[in-house]
């Protein structure tokens, strides 16, 4: 079985959880014999034919232009990084959140083609949703436009049985591929615009999300929480929604020799500093915990649109040198800061899944996670609190500080628990869903 997969993030092209999830999922799918042609927002027009597990790290590459491909295979690269730079995966992709101003900009994915091939009014309406809403002058919208335009050539050239698209940025591409090839489309919801914006968000993105999910044969949600969101906010047919919880890949970690930074207890926030993740709740709980536990340190790790606001607020609250900011951290630095922490908190307002608590738990760190998250559905050895219930957050953190033995014990239990949450199981569910979708498709086309 061969799958044409569109995603916006894949290591090393990564800005958040989406890339990590795709990596773990693809690797496990490859292990189960699924072949995947992966398409990413690369500078050059290429795709990545992934056939073996190890391919997720080496990313074998094919250029669509045969001349360029010949040039590429003749080139000698001294490192993987150099090769990837040649293809044009150098920097992190922009985070794909909140598009502000709507400016009219014509978007033409072969309008004529779509118009003539449309078979029903419903289909016509869905395409209208995409074509009238994928407009705007923002860099990101332009990139999605370009990505979508490329999809046509990709969809026509490659051979595949199924199409799998991750998050709205790739839905137009997935839809186009389905239209061209007639193969079944699965869209994967890692986050909706409601989660990202912590409110209504951008109308254009809603429409594209809605069109993608409606046009798809199957919709995969990363949690019950997300599935409910899809049903209630987007009115998607319940029959085609499937829940596949994310898993995560166990990091290589040195648990024997954790390098502490501080002598006192360390409470960590790790993620984008943006409304969705509840950084302001973290600040409030820090202020209140520090009143009774001045020996504690609160670390806010990451960057985001609310960084400056959080920094200035922490100063205004006179949190002294007890509330610290790391700025952007690379992979290695994330591991270092995790090793130095005792309590991990995820006070997200809305978190479709949330892989990073699992990672924290893998380091034996006691986690406190928002009830408004998908990850709360899969772990038991963690505290789960409504994001708005500051009193309870403060009480729980204080309790853990006052009972370090208990904190360690819960941390260890959590560590054992997450070791069992592996991608193999999640990939198995996806593989079965692929088979069922394909079987349905064949039945319908007999």
């Amino acid at each position: 079985m061969k799958v044409l997969m569109f995603t916006w993030e894949f290591p090393p092209l990564i800005s958040g959880g989406l890339g990590m999830a795709c990596y773990g999922m693809v690797k496990a799918l490859l292990a189960q014999g699924i072949k995947i042609d992966l398409v990413l927002p690369t500078k050059e027009l290429v795709y990545f034919p992934l056939r073996e597990e190890s391919d997720v790290d080496t990313l074998p590459t094919v250029f669509f232009d045969p001349t360029l491909h010949t040039e590429y295979i003749q080139k000698r690269f001294t490192s993987l990084q150099e090769r990837l730079e040649y293809i044009g995966i150098t920097s992190r992709p922009e985070s794909y959140f909140q598009l502000d101003e709507i400016k009219r900009h014509s978007f033409e994915v072969k309008r004529e083609f779509i118009d003539t091939e449309i078979t029903s009014i419903e289909e016509q309406e869905l395409w209208n949703e995409v074509t009238t809403h994928l407009i705007g002058d923002e860099d990101l919208i332009r990139k999605v436009q370009e990505f979508t335009l490329r999809a046509e050539r990709i969809a026509k050239t490659l051979q595949y049985d199924l199409i799998h698209a991750h998050d709205w940025l790739t839905y137009p591409s997935g839809m186009l591929a389905r239209k061209i090839s007639g193969k079944p489309l699965l869209v994967h919801i890692h986050a909706t615009e409601f989660d990202r914006a912590g409110g209504p968000g951008d109308e254009r993105v809603h429409k594209i999300e809605h069109a993608g999910m409606t046009y798809a044969d199957k919709v995969i949600a990363v949690s019950k929480y997300t599935a409910q969101m899809i049903m209630s906010r987007y009115r998607i047919d319940t029959g085609k929604i499937r829940i596949v919880h994310n898993a995560f890949s166990l990091p290589e970690r040195d648990l024997e020799n954790p390098q502490r930074i501080f002598k006192g207890p360390v409470i960590l926030f790790l993620g984008r500093i943006t409304l969705q993740k509840g950084p302001d709740y973290f600040l409030d709980m820090a202020q209140r915990v520090l009143e009774n536990h001045p020996e504690a340190r609160f670390i806010m790790a990451g960057t985001g649109d609310m960084s400056r606001k959080m920094l200035r607020s922490s100063a205004a609250m006179k949190l002294k040198n007890r509330f610290l900011f790391t700025g952007f951290l690379n992979r290695h630095q994330v591991e270092t800061v995790l090793q130095a922490s005792d309590i991990y908190v995820l006070p997200s307002i809305s978190e479709p899944f949330g892989i990073s608590p699992l990672e924290a738990m893998a380091y034996g760190i006691t986690s406190i996670i928002s009830k408004q998250s998908g990850v709360a559905e899969v772990v038991h050895h963690a505290f789960k609190i409504d994001f708005w219930d500051i009193d309870l957050w403060v009480e729980t953190i204080s309790h853990l500080i006052e009972n370090p033995e208990k904190c360690r014990k819960i941390g260890l239990e959590g560590m054992h628990e997450v070791q069992r949450i592996q991608w193999g199981e999640a990939a198995e569910k996806i593989r079965l869903l692929y088979s069922a979708t394909l079987a349905e498709y064949i039945r319908q086309h007999q």
């Binding site: 930074i261 002598k263 920094l311 100063a315 006179k318 002294k320 040198n321 610290l324």
Partner: protein, 399 residues
């Protein structure tokens, strides 16, 4: 007689490294040695060495009639020794002429006066000892960091033996109708005050190379003429003092050599001394020359020479600055209790006012000046590194 009183502030801070959370506890360097060395060598080449040579020549030429004064901070002296010993030697040669007065202050150019009187007295004592040791000079005039002054300061300084005069800014809201050209007494009439004549001082320090300034270019003739005019108002033969206080780095660093600032200075003393009613003096001579009853001036609120506001807002305005400095002075107490000299030294290096100046987030014109002097991208960055350094200091304290 009008006496021109030149006073130059000579200061270099220990700039912080880009000190991140993950550097805490690893015993790594807090201060950016490489950058500090680089800045010191650059400023020595562009300013200290050529200006010292010029002023030494002028003093010799004028045979005792040209006089100047300096406040050289402890952190500057230390960095001369580390990175530019010839600069320190050239200052010694200047002091040896007898035409140079050295002025006392806090060793670390700190804001300790506002937060911790004992620490303030310690740092003033350290600076006096340093002047004694390096130059064999006993300081008699005091100048608080960046001319920060208020009544309470005069009480504390008066208690320290030997200080007879304090320098500060000639702030309009304090002087009102009075002229900064006379010497004053503090509010309790116990100590002399000399007030900076900021219009003319800033003509040299800030406007000298500004082509948009209507008076550009500033020539020696023009400037001495202005000074001459200042004496016309005085009918009672009272001695006047024109206090030209400025950063020493004005010469060659803030105003580049190509602006003609060195030529200006080269010809300035001889032009002044052509006139019998003009001369030069140093601050400690003020008492001797004040041939009138000095009026007392009260400064209930702190003033300084910084920015348009001439108050503390360059260092202590926004939340970042307040949180940073309050956390620092809280640590001081605990460090002194523990009695660890190494940690005390780091805390003192962090007490240098520049660290708080870099966190200033005021906009418009003054914000630009702050930006020019800051080694960091933004006030927020400066704050983050400083707070991290304080976390490091506290971890070392707990060790």
């Amino acid at each position: 007689m009008l006496n021109i009183v030149f006073y130059f502030q000579v200061h270099q801070p220990y700039r912080l490294r880009h000190f991140n959370v993950l550097d805490i506890g690893s015993n790594s360097q807090i201060f950016d040695e490489k950058l500090n060395a680089q800045v010191m060598r650059k400023v020595a080449d562009k300013c200290y060495l050529p200006t010292n040579k010029l002023l030494l020549d002028l003093i010799k030429e004028q045979e005792g009639r040209f006089k100047i004064s300096y406040a050289i901070t402890g952190t500057a002296i230390e960095q001369f020794k580390l990175y530019s010993p010839e600069t320190l030697d050239s200052f010694k040669a200047l002091v040896d002429t007898g035409c140079v007065e050295l002025i006392g202050e806090t060793y670390f150019h700190s804001l300790a006066f506002l937060y911790d009187s004992n620490e303030f007295l310690d740092q003033v004592g350290m600076h006096r000892d340093l002047m004694q040791k390096e130059f064999g000079y006993y300081t008699e005039t005091f100048r608080n960091t960046e001319l920060i002054y208020q009544d309470r300061l005069s009480d504390i300084v008066y208690e320290i033996e030997g200080f007879k005069t304090i320098l500060t800014e000639g702030v309009d809201r304090i002087l009102q109708w009075r002229s900064p050209l006379y010497s004053y007494k503090n509010y309790s009439k116990s100590i002399n005050l000399l007030l900076k004549y900021y219009q003319l001082a800033d003509d040299i320090a800030f406007r000298f190379s500004n082509r948009d300034w209507p008076e550009y270019p500033l020539t020696v003739d023009k400037f001495v003429n202005w000074i001459d005019h200042l004496t016309l108002g005085e009918k009672d033969n009272r001695n006047q003092f024109l206090n030209l206080f400025m950063d020493y780095e004005t010469f060659g660093e803030h105003q580049w050599a190509s602006s003609g600032i060195f030529d200006f200075m080269r010809h300035f003393p001889s032009e002044v001394l052509k006139r019998d009613h003009l001369g030069f003096a140093t601050p400690k001579e003020v008492a001797k020359y004040s041939n009138y009853q000095q009026e007392s001036l009260s400064f209930p609120e702190p003033v300084s020479w910084a920015d348009e506001e001439r108050d503390l807002s360059a260092w202590l305005e926004n939340d970042m600055q307040h949180n940073a400095i309050e956390t620092l002075y809280e640590l001081f107490g605990r460090i002194k209790q523990k009695g660890d000299p190494e940690l005390l030294r780091i805390a003192r290096m962090l007490s240098t006012s520049d660290h708080f100046y870099y966190m200033c987030a005021k906009y418009f014109q003054d914000g630009d000046v702050h930006k020019y002097f800051s080694p960091y991208d933004s006030p927020d960055q400066a704050y983050i590194y400083f707070i991290n350094a304080l976390a490091e200091l506290e971890e070392r304290l707990l060790r």
